[in-house]
């Protein structure tokens, strides 16, 4: 009851603060540009002549993944910066006082905020991602092998990052929590790329960097799973084994164990946040 009221309040805040409209404009611009780019791709001539259908699918896969990365970045930054003000900001401004003096459990308040932010972030990536897939299909006729899985993994990636941002915002200040969350997101992605290069070069030590970072913060692992669902199955073969470390193609789908770990990770971080928030003096 409390959680639902606060989830609604969080969504209403996103609407009223014009976050939704800013995102909508940004997304429409991105969709239009990508549509234009893909339409140019069809008529593209290389020195070797017109691309084969395999090459075209490879390039479409790459570009689709690139744009999806853009969306996941927008959603990640958006939710991280919305999550920050939600706990730290409301405590700092005094807004939390009147709210928490009501007959509510702090964990219900947290759950409500988390649900609202999760609905917002996940809703955004799913809708924007779906629109992008439809644009690509309309322009070049490419349809990814597992679009629903890919979009779900993108949504999960957003939820992972916003859970982390909520934890940070319950212990550090508003601005710091957003910056640290986005910084960690970027660092994990870079570590994933480094790990991929390590695998391509056969260097186990470097490869381990990517593996460890994927476990510490599952955003990059989920992102790679999403890419795998969006890209053409033949794309990797087309690229050749020498290009294994390429950051916008993933070589394997996600394992069930990794997904289970992600669920555990979110639950543990959420529990830590609830503990820290319920003990906090406001």
């Amino acid at each position: 009851m409390t959680a639902l009221a606060l989830a609604g309040l969080t969504l209403r805040e996103a609407m009223r603060r014009r976050v939704v409209w800013a995102l909508l404009v940004l997304t429409v611009v991105l969709l239009a540009l990508s549509g234009w780019g893909f339409s140019k791709l069809i008529g593209l001539d290389t020195e070797l002549g017109t691309m084969t259908s395999g090459e075209a699918r490879l390039v479409a896969s790459l570009l689709l993944n690139l744009i999806m990365f853009g969306f996941s970045l927008i959603a990640a930054i958006g939710t991280a910066f919305l999550a920050g003000p939600t706990l730290a900001g409301e405590v700092e401004s005094g807004q939390a006082l009147a709210l928490l003096a009501r007959p509510v459990r702090r964990s219900s308040v947290l759950l409500g905020k988390w649900l609202g932010l999760a609905a917002f972030g996940a809703g955004y990536v799913v809708l924007a991602g779906l629109a992008q897939i439809l644009v690509v299909r309309g322009v070049v006729g490419y349809w990814p092998p597992a679009p629903a899985t890919g979009l779900a993994l993108l949504a999960a990636e957003t939820i992972v990052l916003l859970t982390l941002a909520l934890l940070l915002s319950s212990v550090v200040s508003t601005m710091a929590s957003g910056i640290v969350a986005v910084g960690l997101f970027g660092a994990t992605w870079v570590a994933g790329v480094v790990g991929g290069l390590g695998a391509a070069l056969g260097n186990e030590g470097v490869e381990r960097v990517g593996t460890v970072s994927k476990i510490l913060l599952p955003t990059d692992g989920l992102w790679r799973g999403a890419m795998n669902a969006f890209q053409d199955p033949g794309a990797l073969l087309q690229m050749g084994t020498g290009e294994q470390g390429f950051p916008f193609l993933a070589d394997a789908p996600l394992t069930g164990a990794y997904l289970a770990w992600t669920v555990v990770w979110v639950a543990v971080i959420w529990g830590l946040t609830a503990l820290s928030f319920s003990r906090r003096d406001v």
Binding site: Q95, R102, P103
Partner: protein, 320 residues
């Protein structure tokens, strides 16, 4: 025939209601500084209790511990008969924080509706509008809070504290941003609540207001209860001021016999005992006249709460 057994519920109903607030041994440290040290007091149902003390005395910390916003290091709190660790203890509590901020993207009416929902109270929209009218925001119900002045936000905070039909209202500096008319409005509101049997815990720097509306006062100093009692108990001492001419040694001795004496020009002030039966002053005037003293004026006076507060805080015990 056996008498019908008394159910547990009937037994509970026959007991006197638990106090609105009961707290015992509250203690809170922030780092090395002890903000609140062994504070205990009670607010009865329908009673108005004033919390007084200088800045940093721990008044807001005590209020926050009562409402579960700050975790006490030691001590216990019961609100309306329930432990304060149980969120349900706050079901019928309204609170206006010292730092009042409400969601700037909501309208005044939406803020009240949100609080009614969180309090799980069944308050129809018309009654919510009535509350907005009561705090002087009837014509701003549909405006976003972001555009409100400080005073209007504090009025909205009062509305939030009152909207869910509270049995206990906690007001932390409720007039800090209000103009003189607003202050009078708050005083009237507190008196209305009192007449309806709603308990009020009032923290205010405006001693005059506290003196006018409160039944009892708790004075905090450096985190401890420095004094507490009803106004009659705290302000028990009365005095009488007399303007006299022709006072000789015998007349002065007669004045001293009535109580502690102080003199400023031809004005004499005599402190009267708290349990004065009402004949001390007439008898004194009669005797002074008999001694040939010319009595120009006799003015009864009462020690104000402000004087009493200052005496307590400066550790000067006013002689009883």
């Amino acid at each position: 025939m056996t008498a019908p057994a008394i159910t547990g519920e009937q037994l509970l109903a026959s007991l006197p209601p638990s106090p609105a607030v009961w707290c015992s041994g509250l203690r809170k440290r922030y780092g090395r500084r002890t903000a609140v040290d062994d504070v205990s007091f009670t607010v009865g149902r329908g009673e108005v209790l004033g919390l007084l003390g200088p800045n940093g005395a721990g008044k807001t910390s005590v209020i926050k511990m009562l409402l579960g916003l700050v975790r006490p290091d030691a001590g216990e709190v019961l609100l309306l008969g329930r432990r304060a660790t149980d969120p349900r203890s706050r079901s019928a509590v309204g609170y206006l924080p010292e730092l009042f901020r409400y969601q700037p993207w909501l309208t005044a009416a939406e803020v009240l509706a949100l609080h009614v929902r969180l309090a799980r109270a069944d308050v129809p929209a018309a009654e919510q509008r009535e509350v907005l009218g009561l705090v002087g925001l009837a014509d701003r119900a549909g405006d976003r809070v972001g555009g409100f002045s400080k005073g209007m936000q504090q009025r909205l905070g009062l509305g939030v504290a009152l909207v869910a039909r509270p049995e206990l209202v906690v007001l932390d500096e409720p007039t800090s941003a209000l103009d003189p008319i607003g202050r009078v409005d708050v005083r009237d509101l507190v008196l209305t609540l009192k007449s309806r049997g709603v308990a009020v815990l009032l923290n205010s720097h405006l001693i005059g207001e506290v003196e006018r509306v409160c039944d009892r006062v708790v004075i905090l100093d450096q985190g401890r209860v420095a004094a507490q009692g009803t106004l009659a108990e705290l302000l028990g001492q009365r005095e009488v001021r007399l303007r006299l001419a022709g006072v000789d040694g015998r007349a002065e001795a007669r004045l001293r016999a009535a109580g502690a004496l102080s003199r400023s020009g031809d004005w004499f002030t005599v402190q009267l005992a708290a349990d004065d039966d009402g004949v001390t002053v007439p008898d004194l005037v009669r005797d002074l006249a008999g001694l040939g003293v010319r009595v120009h004026a006799v003015e009864p006076a009462r020690i104000s709460l402000e004087e009493r507060l200052l005496a307590v805080l400066r550790h000067e015990e006013v002689p009883a």
